[in-house]
Symmetry: C2
Subunit: 292 residues, 2 copies
DNA sequence: TTAATAGTGTCTGTGAGACAGTATCAA
DNA sequence: TTGATACTGTCTCACAGACACTATTAA
């Protein structure tokens, strides 16, 4: 038994309470009567409470045996000076996936992998994660954020782009620290907005997805060894895996790895075969996460 | 190897093309210069292209050995007279989950299960599914829809509520029919908007989720037999399962089923033990979907 | 009785986990 | 040589799938 639903339903009872409160306080101005609200809406959809829509990015990589996420320092209020996930507003003419790919290029210098073009293009994996829309999540206005998850190989330090004054790869354990103190005892401010929750959801998605898909290869360079792939699993799951069983399992799964013929000794020891990701996207049977 | 990512990234190259087109045609009016756009946005988030935000519901149940979804007939243009998923606009003061629970109550007469209150409350399971935001998905204006997935036991015919003139449980195979003709040879119009895609994604989510979670019990009444649970799996997956192996597997998984002590003969044959859902939400090892 | 469903037992093949042992490099 | 990593082989236990067999009801 493991894993959890990232997003759960609220009881309808609480909805009623919220509605009643809004009616009493006069929030939602023109929508005082629920009946009137419904009628107006079905006939005139442009008469709606306007929302701003953003995309936020959980960009993960594995550096020095640790799962790291891209964080940018906020140059403006609110949360000025605090670390946040990269992201930005969706433009009037672009799709959500396009907006996410644009932000990924602008803020991380990464281009998204196009699933329609075959072959390794060294692009990052990008997928939609979940949407966050608590009315209070942004103090300025009603903002709904469509979070996306990106997985990338270990790359040089990210370039700071756009309105982000600073950017870095930070270990997710550090960004999600609950007690407010880092490894060196320095106080660490939590992430801005609800970004700690978004990051936690993204990490959990990555952890579960490398179990039953070949997505772990998205953390690797185009050519990699079995040992390097194993270190990805170990960093993402935070466990130690048996190198011998891992090798047998991963090389025995059809379509997961394709040998390139080359070898490398960049990890020391006996030369290791180089592989690239095979065509398979889903692993059956899956990799099994230990500690059940 | 199975399952697919519901939402994939667009190539960054295409984003560039879209941006160029927008700049040329003058779409997005006030945002002609990208630099100006970024600067304006970081300082003045309320100066944004306004979006309408809706929730759409994929409400699934199992009726007469078939997986069915709740469909409502549209009373207004666009797509007037066509079948669509229930849904509606998110109000100014409510969370996305609250909006989904409200629509579920209004349009299906179901209340959402509150995960914080223990014990069987006969509420439907409700979770966020994915968000759909293609600029052209609603011809009237820019609408971003946060789709939710609800699973409910077989219930009497849904009451039509709100602006929905009519509502029914329809087999998903019929709603997703590609050739445009139903079983009886009658022409069947496809679902409105992008609701066929949303429904397909919801069905795929349900199919994969009953593998590794105890969610299949959300399709059952509070007390049910092993055979009834098996028929749920068979309907959702569209396969036949061995009753003996299923029985052994499902009763042997800790926390999945709790015997109530009672028995029933409502399915005919030898009296069957009644169970209710146990506390476990995640099954390990999972149920295995056949035809690998 | 027959027909239907419920439930148990038993065999077999696959594969995960544990771990012994060998191979090939650098220092 | 030592120490690191790469890889192969072997044993055992758990469990999925197949299926024979028994149990208990209604008609």
């Amino acid at each position: 038994m493991r894993q959890a639903t990232p997003y759960s339903a609220a009881a309808s009872g609480r909805v009623g309470e919220r509605e009643a409160a809004a009616l009493t306080t006069g929030e939602g101005s023109v929508y005082r009567q629920a009946d009137d609200y419904d009628r107006r809406m079905s006939y005139d959809p442009s008469a709606f409470p306007p929302f701003a829509v953003t995309v936020d990015l959980v960009v993960l990589t594995v550096r020095r045996h640790a799962l790291c996420a891209l964080a940018v320092r906020r140059a403006e209020p609110p949360f000025q000076g605090r670390w946040a996930l990269p992201g930005g507003f969706v433009r009037a003419d672009e799709d959500l996936a396009q907006a996410a790919a644009r932000e990924l290029a602008e803020e991380a210098g990464l281009h998204a992998h196009d699933p329609s073009s075959p072959g390794p293009d060294n692009g990052a994996h990008l997928e939609q994660l979940a949407t966050y829309g608590d009315p209070e999540r942004d103090p300025r206005m009603r903002v709904v954020s469509v979070a996306h998850l990106a997985l990338a190989p270990d790359l040089p330090a990210p370039r700071a782009g756009g309105d982000a004054g600073d950017a870095r790869w930070a270990p997710v354990a550090e960004l999600l620290q609950q007690d407010g103190y880092g490894r060196d005892g320095e106080p660490v401010a939590p992430l801005a907005f609800d970004h700690a929750q978004i990051l936690a959801d993204g990490v959990e998605r990555a952890r579960s997805k490398i179990e039953y898909s070949s997505l772990a290869t998205a953390f690797c360079p185009p050519e990699f060894t079995v040992g390097e792939l194993r270190r990805v699993y170990e960093a993402v799951w935070g466990v130690a895996l048996d190198p011998r069983n891992f090798h047998r399992k991963v090389t025995g799964t059809q379509g997961f790895l394709v040998p390139t013929g080359g070898t490398t000794t960049r990890q020391g020891g006996r030369p290791a075969q180089l592989f690239r990701a095979g065509g398979a996207t889903l692993l059956n049977p899956p990799m099994l996460r230990p500690e059940v």
